[in-house]
């Protein structure tokens, strides 16, 4: 119970004794009580620690105001999501542009291969170090899916040359007896090569170009030696180990021709042949004739036809 006398009422309040919050209404002289409380409040100004407390409190309040404002920082905070979005957009655009440019470059590569038509690549096959010396040959292409490969075989074998190709109807291979084996797919070639060289690779420019975008991770750079050429470097990402681990294509933009293709297997492929690398280099001045791609000309009745096409 709070005293009704204002002096005692104030004494009770300021002494620190607990008092009920609804007990103040009973004071007899609110004016005197108010005045005495005001005297109490004014006396606090002379307290020894008041100056420091006041300064500290005001400083804290002003610091809170400063924290409350910070318009520039706030503005930047608001800009951060926009900045992130812009960076993402730039990144996405850059990625799209990069992918897009890469796809355009690959498309140019394939288009150039098709447009350029018939031509011959000199082939050099490198084998594992402890295997037989390198093998040479040629691959004729026409850019339309047809090809003829001629690979010189080591002396002493069943035949001096491996001769196989592809037409619009399928694959063919010149058997040792001079006959032509045909099949709609590559199996007839694979079987013969497996028997002779043990799963040796059958590199094909057309197939490589067709699978480059899907089976390989491709980067392309300008050839430092020849700025008119572009070098495509493909690293295989498919699980098909018969495909070369690495493919490098040097493409002349000025002539739309593939100047060189390099296939590389790691480890070497073929239990007998042990092929480590196949390099096909464009023979600039050699242009095979149409008849070179016709397996019919390789019939036993005309076994010299491919040679005549050279």
């Amino acid at each position: 119970m709070m005293p009704r006398d204002p002096d005692q009422y104030v004494d009770r309040l300021v002494s620190g004794e607990p008092f009920p919050s609804d007990s103040a209404g009973g004071v007899d002289d609110p004016a005197r009580a108010g005045d005495l409380l005001l005297v109490h409040g004014m006396l606090g100004r002379f307290a020894e620690g008041e100056s420091e407390r006041s300064a500290r409190s005001l400083t804290r309040a002003l610091e809170r105001i400063a924290d409350d404002q910070r318009p520039i920082r706030f503005a930047w905070r608001r800009l951060v999501p926009l900045g992130i979005a812009a960076l993402v957009m730039v990144g996405v655009f850059g990625l799209w542009w990069n992918v897009s440019s890469q796809q355009r470059a690959l498309a140019d590569l394939r288009d150039g291969h098709v447009r350029h038509g018939m031509r011959r690549y000199a082939v050099e096959i490198l084998r594992a170090a402890d295997a037989a010396p390198r093998v040479t040959g040629s691959i004729d292409v026409d850019g339309a899916g047809r090809m003829v490969a001629r690979i010189a075989l080591p002396p002493g074998g069943p035949q001096p040359e491996l001769l196989f190709g592809r037409t619009a109807d399928g694959w063919w291979i010149a058997e040792a007896n001079g006959s032509i084996g045909h099949s709609p797919d590559k199996s007839v070639v694979v079987a013969w090569i497996r028997a002779v060289a043990g799963d040796a690779p059958i590199p094909s420019v057309d197939e490589t170009l067709a699978r480059l975008a899907t089976d390989y991770t491709v980067n392309w750079t300008i050839d430092e030696q020849d700025p008119t050429s572009v070098i495509f470097n493909g690293t295989r990402r498919s699980a098909d180990r018969t495909e070369a681990e690495l493919v490098q294509i040097r493409y002349a933009r000025s002539t739309s021709r593939i100047r060189e293709i390099l296939w590389e297997w790691r480890p070497p492929v073929g239990s007998i042949a042990q092929v480590r690398q196949v390099r096909a280099t464009l023979e600039e001045r050699m242009r095979p004739g149409e008849e070179a791609f016709l397996p019919a000309s390789l019939s036993p009745a005309d076994p010299e036809a491919p040679a005549a096409s050279r």
Binding site: V14, S21, D22, D35, L36, L37, A55, P71
Partner: protein, 262 residues
């Protein structure tokens, strides 16, 4: 003593005419001014400008805010020229204004709250809320009642929050507010004069009352400790304090520093 009305317009005019708010700061020359200035300088060095967006931007708390603007009150200066003011300028002005009012504001808070932590927190909260709501202040009127209204609302909110008792007798609080308001808007530093008068009255107290005031108010001893120092009982010390406050009140009334009851 310089005569002035501590309103926003006055302070602004004073700062602009003096070229620096430091002149006003030096007059009070206390640690608080230094602390306040250090914050302002940090603000300025941080390049935080653009006053026009200033205080009202953050006026979202309003748990203990009040508005002094009536229907006929003029709008706060939201003109183009005011928008050219800097935030630093505005904070400087506000610091000066608050510093001028802080002793009086703290005395008001001490008059109706008796917990030291509560007093400090309410003071800080009042300064912060007043800054946020400065655009709602009618600058044609004295700022003291407006600040005390904010402080009172803050006190109520904090007391409820902390379950602390404060005076909620409207008649008592109204009396304190009226006594403080007397002289506001008139000439002179009214609270400084009142404080000076109180100091004079303290010197006229009897020895025992003077000692009680010195121990309990100046040295801030609890009454029990002060009683031990004075080698009297606790109740005797409280009686001396009670007597001293009554004597001081009579002295202030006789000096017309505080209005006597009608």
């Amino acid at each position: 003593m310089a005569n002035h009305i501590p309103t926003w317009e006055y302070v602004k005019a004073r700062v602009l005419s003096s070229g620096s708010p430091l002149d006003l700061r030096r007059r009070s020359g206390d640690a608080m001014a230094t602390a306040a200035r250090s914050v302002a300088v940090r603000q300025a060095s941080a390049g935080r400008v653009i006053l026009a967006l200033g205080a009202a931007d953050g006026a979202d708390d309003a748990s203990c805010g009040v508005s002094s603007r009536g229907d006929d009150s003029r709008q706060p200066a939201s003109t183009g020229s005011r928008r050219l003011e800097t935030r630093v300028d505005r904070l400087h002005l506000y610091e000066i204004l608050i510093r001028q009012q802080s002793d009086k504001l703290r005395a008001f808070i001490r008059s109706i709250a008796f917990d030291r932590d509560l007093i400090e927190d309410v003071f800080q909260e009042t300064v912060l809320v007043a800054w946020r709501q400065i655009d709602t202040f009618d600058r044609t009127k004295p700022i003291g009642p407006w600040l005390r209204g904010i402080a009172r609302n803050c006190l109520l909110a904090q007391a409820r929050k902390r379950n602390r008792a404060i005076i909620d007798d409207e008649a008592v609080i109204g009396r304190i507010d009226r006594q403080m308001a007397a002289g506001e808007g008139a000439e002179g530093d009214d609270f400084g004069e009142k404080s000076e008068a109180l100091r004079n009255c303290m010197e006229r107290l009897g020895t025992e009352q003077r000692e009680a005031i010195d121990l309990c108010y100046i040295r801030e001893m609890p009454a029990t400790l002060a009683a031990d120092v004075a080698r009297i009982t606790h109740d005797a010390m409280r009686k001396r304090l009670q007597r001293a406050r009554a004597d001081l009140l009579d002295c202030l009334r006789r000096s017309n520093v505080l209005e006597s009851p009608a």
